[in-house]
């Protein structure tokens, strides 16, 4: 284990080597290559090696640059959301729900707004799951309602009410014009408006481009980022809806 201060590693400890690729809107010539090196220098790469430059389309050049950066990374200053709950097996989740709730835990999931990418919500909810790990439908004590794609916020609130949802899972993949953030805020506001604080389901959003630290700003209870597995979501549900409530 290295100390709290590290630098990028090329092939020798402390060499600070990184690689980067980018396009500049200039035709490929000597000046373009100089421009690429200027950018690399401004980004703190010194020395920078231009290893590849290629014209792409009309008036654009693609570059690959290798070089050394002078920046230091202080590991003690890194801020991340660490998993603050224990990871449970499907069996443990089922047992916890049975003991803690004495009924099935109701989960309603959807892709809201115009987002039609159900890959994420399906990976978490469908029996099929992801990477060999079964989705929430597989958990005997969870009652899963997957509303699918392009669900409107009012439809989602209505479904949550109808299914007496303990938790609402929303997946957002499309990020053009920050659609994922707008949609999430609209969703959390609608739930706040429609239901009193104590009766509101747990609001969870997931998607590859979310910042997991933005829960407060988006008005949700939890954000899951890229690579989240169904077991993590199930374990969090137990943690938030059963373990924590028992403590309270």
């Amino acid at each position: 284990m290295s100390g709290p201060i590290v630098r990028p590693y090329g092939d020798t400890t402390g060499d600070g080597m990184v690689q980067m690729s980018f396009t500049l809107p200039v035709p490929h010539d000597k000046r373009a290559e100089g421009a690429a090196l200027q950018l690399a220098a401004k980004m703190g790469m010194d020395p920078a090696m231009l290893v590849h430059a290629k014209p792409i389309g009309e008036g654009f050049t693609f570059f690959v640059v290798y070089g050394r950066v002078n920046h230091l990374v202080d590991l003690s200053q890194v801020e991340v959301v660490e998993r603050d709950f224990p990871l449970l097996s499907a069996k443990e989740v089922n047992t916890a729900v049975k003991r803690g709730l004495r009924r099935k835990l109701s989960v309603v999931g959807a892709c809201i707004g115009t987002d039609a990418h159900t890959v994420g919500i399906d990976a978490i909810l469908n029996v099929k799951g992801i990477a060999g790990e079964k989705g929430l439908e597989y958990y005997r004590e969870l009652k899963v309602t997957n509303l699918g794609a392009q669900v409107s916020v009012p439809e989602l609130v209505e479904a949550a009410r109808r299914e007496r949802a303990d938790a609402v899972l929303v997946s957002q993949v499309v990020t053009q014009r920050d659609a994922h953030l707008h949609n999430t805020r609209e969703m959390s506001a609608a739930f706040r408006e429609a239901m009193p604080a104590g009766r509101r389901p747990l609001l969870i959003v997931g998607g590859p481009r979310f910042d997991e630290k933005m829960t407060g700003e988006l008005g949700v209870d939890r954000i899951f980022g890229r690579g989240t597995t169904p077991a993590e979501v199930a374990s969090y549900l137990v943690h938030a809806l059963i373990t924590q409530k028992a403590k309270a």
Binding site: S21, F22, T23, K54, I56, G57, E58, F60, F62, G113, T114, D115, A116, T118, V119, D122, N126, V127, K128, G148, A149, Q150, V174, Q176, R177, A179, P208, R226
Partner: protein, 520 residues
Amino acid sequence: MSGKLDLDPGLVARARQLARRAGQPVVDLARSHTTVSVERAVLRLAGVAGADPDGIPWVNRLVDAVVADVGLGQGVALPVFDAMAREQVADVTLLAQQAAAGAVRFRRPAGRAATAARRAALSAVRRGIRQVDRRRVERERLVKRLGDPPQRPWIYLIVATGDIYEDIPQAQAAARAGADVIAVIRSTGQSLLDYVPEGATREGFAGTYATQENFRLMRAALDEVSKELGRYVRLTNYASGLCMPEMATLAGLERLDMMLNDSMYGILFRDINPIRTFVDQRFSRQMHARAGIIINTGEDNYLTTADAVDEAHTVTVSQLLNEFFAHEAGLPDALLGLGHAFEINPEVPQSLRLELAHALLARELFPDAPLKWMPPTKHMTGDVFRGNLLDGFFNLVGAMTGQGILLVGMMTEAVVTPWLSDRDIALQNVRYVLGAAGGLGEDFRPPPGGFIQQRAHQVLGEAVTLLERIADDTLLQAIAEGTFGIMKRPADRGKGLEGVAAHEDGYFNPATELLEAVPA
């Protein structure tokens, strides 16, 4: 059979026969129902154009007005052309405007009035269909003069900025960089709009709205670059969602060359009502057949939600069903871009050999169809270096198994909408593989009884077993039970159901009559 897989011709014939048995009840359903979108397509052919100040097309306003007065069950053509005669309105868009203002009442004409309305409707719609015919001839002439791409597969590239005026230079640049087919992805959410937006559009989400004007602008831009390159560059859009028949009609009117058109995609992935989908699909495919448009079916999508090995046979089943529905609607094999995809988890041992078996199976089952070969998406992780390698293997399988249309895979799939450099790297990958191994199919003969042959036989066998079940239980039941892509979609649910009506006595659709008439 070219025989690389030594498929049992009896089993192949049986598979087709079962697909026919499973599909026929759906065709009967499609022939005995209409939808608001079919009726709007008829009116578009008859010349209704433009939209009201809120952007709602006049065809929607007119169909809504007719339905409010006399219902949908006899079709809108007779009430509309009867009203034109009674009100002495010569222009059908003008009638739509008056109807929207509440100034026109509709009735179901009878006797001489009905005969006259029928004649007028046929004559107006015939003008629209002649325009589609002219567009088709225009394409044939351009292809003859400029030529088709020099190689197979054709290289198919996606453009999607949301702004048609950004799309145009990007599409032209892509064509210059080697793309043979440009697909303009639609804005997310358009499939669930029950109308076709109007005019040139500059805002969309993860895609650009499909409108008649956007079609026209892009086709004109590609005509320009086709002349420059000396090769006809094709244009693709989507006949899917709630407006399939209208999209197909507009595509025919504006000389689009390919349209995404799947028999079940809307049902499974957009939760559109199954009956609505099948009725709309049949009309849209009849239009495509008339316009000479190559359809691209969407089997690749099943594999993004289900496992590509376990569920490989559902792709084959869907291809067979898509083929049956397409033939029934008048599409010849040359216009069947049946879809499939390279979606097996790369961690699965021998995944490349499995991909070869599946791709070759599709090739041999449909020897005369320009198969659409779709790149990996599900197992693209953000590791762009590995992604580029995976795309290379995808391209190789495409080259070795003689695929017709190759959708260029992006190493940044699942990361960002493709950058200029991503596209360039992806095209470089395709060019390298096709250049280095374009003729490898000739040398590639899987040994009799070997891994690839056995796997192909197994998938075909499983497909036949599934088709037997579907043929016995009916296709609608199978869809309701989640047979395809795991989604369960019962026939009495889903979006757009309120826009479906069973034909009543005297149902009249001039477009269908003209499209189904035996060509002189």
